[in-house]
Amino acid sequence: MAEFRMPTLGADMQAGTVVAWLKKPGDVLRRGDTLAEVDTEKGVIDVEVFTAGVLEAIVVPVGAKVPVGTVMATIRAGAEPAAALPLPPPRGLPETGEERPVTPAARATPPLIPPAPIYAPGLVATERLKISPAARRLARELGVDPAAVTGTGRSGAITRGDVEQAAARGAAAPRAAAITAPPSAAMPAAGDRQARMRRTIAAAMARSKREIPHYYLATTIDLGRAMAWLADRNAAVPVAERLLPGVLLLKAAALAVREAPELNAVWDGERVVLRETVHAGVAIALRGGGLVILAVHDTATRPLAALMTTVRELTVRARAGRMKSSELADSTLTVTSLGDRGVEAVYGVIYPPQVAIVGFGRITDRPWAVNGGLCVRPVVTATLAADHRVSDGHRGGLFLDAVDRLLQEPEKL
């Protein structure tokens, strides 16, 4: 039997609140299925399951806030026969599935929240409320318990209007909260989420600056060929298929890891653990403040068009507060691009337990010397902040040099 635990969705996450279970005991689970919705300071996260099998029991009820690593449900894996096994006690370590090693930082950092109380499975609500994310958010903001609202939408779905009417009637009867925690803890309001996100960013970044000996490198890269190639390519296709320069930079950074594999890794507290696949984490600024780092899976091997689509979708969903657990948990090397905000260079703070962050500034026309003559070229400042425990400036320099070389042959990206 496998245990489904509260996953760690980044080094800055310590606990999550179960908002909904999307499967009920007896349901068949495939790898990648969304099993639960969990509320964190980053939004409501679709938590995916990485063990195929049958959902045996739900341990943590809707509305309960539990620390990372807490057993949330048990899964009968594969062809294992059903058996009335007693639940093993939580070990405090997140299980993330056979193909995803436990994030070393999660191991190294003791949970700051006391162990979770054990909940009786009988209290669990397994029905998924038919409610849109927007209506659910509104309900949270207005302090309305969605379970107490009668839906008037399609198939009885709860609409924003239903929530507003319920709020007007004063129908705030927090069902889940009555079982577990005060409403403020179980259903945080938007403003509260902002404050919590600020605190978690503060904790992760303070830890980074306290523990990681950063070194910084910068180089200016001629994008003349890349921008000309991009303009040619984009002229021939509809807007939905056009590439933004940022996606070339992203792929170049992912490919350059070949030259310095130790930058695509995590620090487990004592040593570096290399990651074979590059899942670049893109830093996405949220409206109203804060940011999330979401994984663009298999960045080095997927075509530019696919990466562009992913980046677009991630941006929309990050801002809407709809993200998947794998997107939050899987990134291996962060790439941040503040060029849109007008700055020429960004020197990043490493997102632990990662060991490097690549930064790209604004693409801007500059005088550029070529073969002893002067011309005007679009250029970008690429930076690397890396962990000196893991790599040295020489290796970092090779990495940035590879980014430059790759961008000189955009058609091969």
Partner: protein
């Protein structure tokens, strides 16, 4: 073919989805969209995709940079027949 008012309405509807917290009723027709609504390049591309879908027109790559304000969108996209 869309009228100027239809282009304006479509643009505001798309922007409302991208920047839900913004007060679009207060958005002046000549305010630069990207700065006024803090849109990054991905947001702006999503805006262009939304516009092409809503209006049934295509927007050339070299033209997209000119769609900086609501007025510019109306000037360029109103009365344009769909090439598709």
């Amino acid at each position: 073919m869309a009228t100027r008012e239809e282009v304006r309405a479509a643009a505001l509807a798309v922007l409302g989805g991208i920047a839900p917290e913004a007060d679009l009723t207060a958005l002046g027709a000549d305010v630069p969209l990207r700065r006024g609504l803090d849109l990054d390049s991905v947001d702006f591309q999503n805006f262009l995709i939304g516009l092409t879908k809503a209006l049934g027109v295509e927007i050339a790559d070299r033209e997209s940079a000119a769609l900086t304000t609501l007025t510019a969108c109306m000037d360029r996209l109103a009365a344009r027949s769909s090439p598709r």
